[in-house]
Symmetry: C2
DNA sequence: TTAGTAAGGAAGGTCTACTAACAAACGTGA
DNA sequence: TCACGTTTGTTAGTAGACCTTCCTTACTAA
């Protein structure tokens, strides 16, 4: 009797799965070492071995490579007096390399900076857009990057760009209406022109990355950015969610006010009515509280908080989020709005979801997008997140 | 001048990152080969090499291992007449191994089955719970598994269990109120007792896995299960989302009807009012349409669809989902309800989100949970998804 | 026949991380 | 003070994993 083997085909959505070569494993372990040095500061090889689970021999080998490449430096003997042979410390040369970061969030100007690997800004540029769009805007960006590269006091690891709109994993701006960019291969074009690695991502996603790496965000978090519009970046298991068409986080145009609501749905720039942006964007919030006394303003902000809470409740439940970070004007967000949003989410979800969730302000300042853009480079070039 | 290196510490939520050894890479590539054979059916070694990107030499080596282990069989020469030496086919021995799958979704009985690797049921068992809870229920489950193991006509790869409640990644049932299980290490206990690998996951999540592997679900999808209650499983980049406290997908108790709604919020078993379960569970839907004529029933189902659409819109926007699959009674779900839900999501989201999203019925039948439990084993033991 | 093509295997090389063993440098306690 | 244990980092050897190169086999096409 012959056995029928695999006679039945099983359909499934095809997924690109990649082979893993020894060198990939090596690269991963190298990133582990770098990541430890980045997050924990100077350490001995033995410390790194304990932290990563690799043997001291392997760590020594990897560290040797990193020293040869110049990314890591030998710092001499640790002074601390413990038993045994004193450790020699090695540390990442965070001050001897820089990253160029650009923030394109603002419709009126481009912000650029040269930053060290610790996130300190060493040079800053600001260029008015003056209404430029499409290729003209892209050319202006190229010039800005060239300028920043020239201003860099140390070797540049790469360029990170926080762009509005939908950006795919290869750094192609799929659509950014405010810049007139559609299908623009921004990363590839800039890398070609400038000869430096370039990473591009959506500005809200970038902010989420920044909060995760520098701001202590949990690995199941949403970072909600409130500015001219409203955007979000989602972290699931510490990785950014990109979504079917790289549009994950585009939460600004979800309807939150409709005809059955107690308030009137306002027209939105997208052509529909009652979008989250019509109540939660910074201009919308300012309009809402304009001319009101403190008490009335607080009530107005709380009402927006409740709308936000209603919108967040299904997302928090579906993903079992640990926290939602609000990034934007604290005088508008960090008060009745935040508190009402949190209370509303907790009212509208089961305890295991609501009690685990916190809504707090993001920790990074106005440079959050720049910082996130820098993290894009750290992550893309060094594997450090 | 000395360079200050890594002097500044950067806080971050700690994340367990693991080293990668060559053997892990090997295991990954082995799963790649098995996955190709599982999804594409019998192939030549050269086919596998082209599909995986590995060289023919490496594939031959891996296939040799798999044949030695008995998971793969040599099928002889392919008859097809092309130029060159004819290929010898190899295939996964999907009929020569079985999986034990158990579905604990139902409050009244436990369902068990022995299934081949292609998902065909070769034996079936059903055990009434008769109100048993806690350890008694766990003992009954152990007996059921033993019975199924005895009924297996071929070597058993492992046991997969779809449990209600919150289940962590190690197969510990954190809380399943209906079974009286709290912090029960179900997978470990059964594996110990029965001497077979055991994998446990939440039933809705399990269903999502099943739909992904056997049902052709996209890799950015939500599978919404409508039965006694409402649950969901979320796939992001083809991986199951577990969430902060392994409670991802617990969407049944999100408030969808409140005092400002046009209809009255109904009390829910969770103690609150207006939860999604109070309108969307199978009993709730049946109550809603009971005694109504066709037209009125359709309108009633559509109204629930709109409530579902309002709830899904923020989730679909945040994650940019490709599809939402409805798993449950088609006579209730697949009609006005589904259509109203889809229309509502599209009304309430921006085009890039709404137009990309489809809401359709799940393709697996009433054995969806069992099938998903089997996939748990395939995934856990063979790395095949 | 002869040439060309494709499959599969054998040999040998490189890369990776491991174990085992050791020297160096320190604290501890008799 | 000095032997001893501890910790660090290195050297040497080993096993695993995949690669490239070359060969044989077996078929089609002209």
């Amino acid at each position: 009797m012959t056995t029928q083997v695999g006679a039945r085909r099983i359909s499934r959505a095809l997924r690109p799965t990649g082979k893993v070569l020894p060198e990939h494993a090596r690269a991963h372990n190298r990133s582990l070492v770098l990541g430890h040095l980045f997050h924990s500061g100077p350490s001995s090889r033995a410390d790194i071995a304990r932290s990563t689970g690799l043997t001291r021999v392997t760590v020594s080998d990897l560290v040797g490579d990193l020293i040869d490449e110049g990314l890591v430096a030998d710092l001499g003997v640790r002074s601390a007096g413990k038993v045994g042979k004193p450790a020699t410390l090695v540390g990442m040369r965070t001050e001897d390399f820089v990253v160029v970061a650009v923030d394109l969030t603002d419709d009126a100007r481009m912000l650029g900076a040269v930053m060290t690997l610790t996130g300190d800004v060493v040079a800053r540029r600001e260029v008015p857009l003056d209404g430029r769009r499409g290729d003209e805007a892209a050319d202006l960006l190229t010039d800005l990057c060239r300028d920043l590269l020239a201003a860099a006091p140390a070797p540049v690891l790469g360029i990170g760009i926080a762009s509005p709109g939908v950006v795919d994993a290869d750094g192609v701006v799929v659509e950014a209406p405010n810049r007139g960019w559609y299908g623009l291969p921004l990363a590839a074009r800039l890398a070609q022109t400038l000869g430096v690695p370039v990473h591009v991502a959506n500005d809200a996603n970038t902010r989420a990355l920044g909060e995760f790496t520098y701001g202590g965000a949990q690995d199941a978090a949403m970072v909600l950015t409130v500015g001219q519009g409203v955007g979000a970046g989602l972290l699931v298991d510490g990785a950014l969610v990109r979504g079917r068409r790289w549009a994950a986080g585009e939460i600004g145009h979800v309807t939150v006010v409709d005809d059955s609501s107690s308030e009137e749905p306002l027209p939105c720039a997208c052509g529909r009515r009652g979008c989250l942006e019509t109540v939660l964007s910074a201009p919308a919030l300012r309009r809402r509280v304009a001319g009101l006394d403190r008490e009335a303003a607080d009530a107005a902000l709380a009402s927006v908080g409740r709308l936000l809470g209603v919108t967040l409740a299904p997302v928090a439940s579906a993903l079992n989020l640990a926290e939602v970070l609000l990034s934007g004007p604290p005088e508008l967000l960090d008060g009745p709005l935040r508190e009402a949003a949190l209370a509303t989410v907790r009212e509208r979800t089961m305890p295991v979801i609501g009690q685990e969730l916190d809504i707090r302000m993001a920790t990074l300042d106005e440079d959050a997008s720049l910082t996130g853009a820098a993290v894009l480079v750290l992550s893309g070039q060094l594997g450090v997140t």
